[in-house]
């Protein structure tokens, strides 16, 4: 059992940082120390709505990083996410959210993200495409162990991985197996997480 005092400081720091939307969160127990959702920073989604990762607690979700301008692997990343989601039963599917954060905040405006949503016909009740400031991009990539480098031509070279977070934001599983045939172990981990969260 971890002591409560250990988490009180980050919690206070968080409360100071965030806006009215998170006041309600302060009443919730602090996130576990290894939760990705603790990462501070303001994100903006494809509809220009601002949010923090802490507001995404509660249900399991898939998370990854991509960029809108990407021609090769990023569409594959979206297709893989879709394929993974489609293997689930409808009842489970409706409870799994997907968050894709841009590696390219300079070019991926909310409008560019909205275009990706339209191109791939993504259901925005479950899918969120988001951008954030460069320092937060680097920190999020570091906690997710996503490696990336901007190439001379402006494209990005990056690890293509799907990561499963539990309802508290802890990393449960990851897969680098991209394509229309989802990684069965990864799908099993999602089913387990959704079962747990019931």
């Amino acid at each position: 059992m971890k002591s409560v005092s250990r988490w009180s400081r980050p919690a206070l720091w968080f409360c100071g940082l965030l806006t009215a939307a998170t006041t309600a969160l302060a009443a919730q127990p602090p996130l576990p120390g290894d939760s990705v959702l603790q990462l501070p920073g303001v994100f903006v989604d494809q509809a220009s709505r601002r949010f923090t990762l802490a507001t995404r607690r509660g249900q399991p979700q898939l998370i990854s990083m991509f960029y809108a301008n990407c021609q090769s692997v990023c569409p594959l990343l979206i297709e893989t996410s879709t394929a993974v989601v489609n293997t689930l039963e409808p009842a489970q599917r409706s409870r799994l959210r997907v968050l894709l954060v841009s590696l390219d905040p300079a070019r991926d405006t909310p409008a560019a993200l909205a275009q990706v949503v339209r191109d791939h016909r993504l259901d925005t009740t479950r899918w969120t495409l988001a951008r954030t400031e460069p320092a937060v991009v680097r920190r999020l990539a570091a906690v997710l162990d996503i490696r990336y480098r901007q190439l001379e031509g402006g494209e990005f070279n990056h690890t293509s991985v799907l990561i499963l977070l539990d309802g508290q934001g802890r990393m449960l599983a990851r897969t680098e197996q991209l394509g229309a045939r989802p990684d069965p172990q990864f799908v099993a981990a999602i089913r387990g997480a959704l079962q747990q969260g019931k």
Partner: protein, 254 residues
């Protein structure tokens, strides 16, 4: 009053440690050869700490930034079983750890936080490699067999010999010390290194993983010491720390 102020000033100077040295800009050839980035790379003038950050300096930091003390730092940012585990307590080094040794067992997040608290940042890989190419008299000594021998001798030394203290190697032509021969160092962009086990036999899976374009190859297979660094940095996560990995900070020149 006046002598007291003077003494305080000296104490502050000592506590701040080695300080920064201006490094002039220039061009150099990186050992890392990317498909999109061949030939020379330009490095803009910047400032770099002349020595790695010490245990003593990091101790002062965690006393004022309590969220980075062992046991308080979030596991998300610092692997709890390793982070500063060689210190006797979260706020005391103990008898076997010297304040003058470079601090090790610090995560990339902790190193970044330390530099940011100084209004600084971690150096980029290019900045580090550019400065580390120098010896005492040349800006690029990498083709000198004697230089390579000297560095390789350090890698060959037993790890059981224990860490030396900072400032124990001669300053290079820029006035920077301990780039070789003491500890390995975090860089700001450690996570930009996408190295597969062997580029020559890269599988389709690897190509997909690294987005195909822009794969990294090694330009100079003889430069073992630098490749060791690349291998280490490319294998680490931001929350990891090791007993031989430290850091120093850099500042951009506006």
């Amino acid at each position: 009053m006046r002598p007291a102020v003077l003494v305080l000033g000296l104490l502050v100077a000592a506590a701040q440690g080695s300080g920064y040295q201006r490094v002039p800009g220039g061009e150099y050839r990186s050992v890392l050869k990317y498909e999109d980035l061949k030939g020379s790379r330009a490095v803009a003038a910047f400032e770099l700490m002349t020595q790695p950050v010490t245990n003593g300096e990091f101790l002062k930091f965690v006393r004022t930034h309590r969220e980075w003390q062992r046991g308080r730092a979030l596991p998300l940012y610092a692997e709890p079983s390793a982070y500063l585990s060689h210190w006797q307590t979260p706020t005391a080094l103990g008898p076997v750890t010297s304040a003058r040794q470079p601090v090790t067992r610090v995560s990339w997040f902790a190193a970044t936080a330390y530099c940011e608290a100084q209004g600084a940042r971690l150096p980029t890989w290019s900045e580090w490699e550019y400065v580390a190419a120098a010896d005492e008299t040349h800006r690029d000594a990498r083709q000198d067999p004697a230089w390579r021998e000297r560095i390789l001798a350090w890698y060959a030394r037993s790890a059981g010999a224990g860490l030396g203290v900072v400032g124990s190697t001669p300053p290079n032509v820029y006035g920077i010390q301990d780039l070789h021969g003491l500890v390995w160092e975090w860089t700001d962009d450690y996570s930009a290194m996408l190295v597969s086990a062997d580029n020559r036999s890269q599988s389709e899976a690897d190509r997909a993983r690294f987005c195909g374009a822009g794969a990294l190859a090694v330009d100079d297979r003889e430069n073992y010491p630098v490749m060791m660094r690349v291998a280490l940095l490319s294998s680490l996560r931001g929350a990891d720390s090791t007993s031989s990995l430290g850091f120093r900070c850099a500042r951009s020149i506006r």
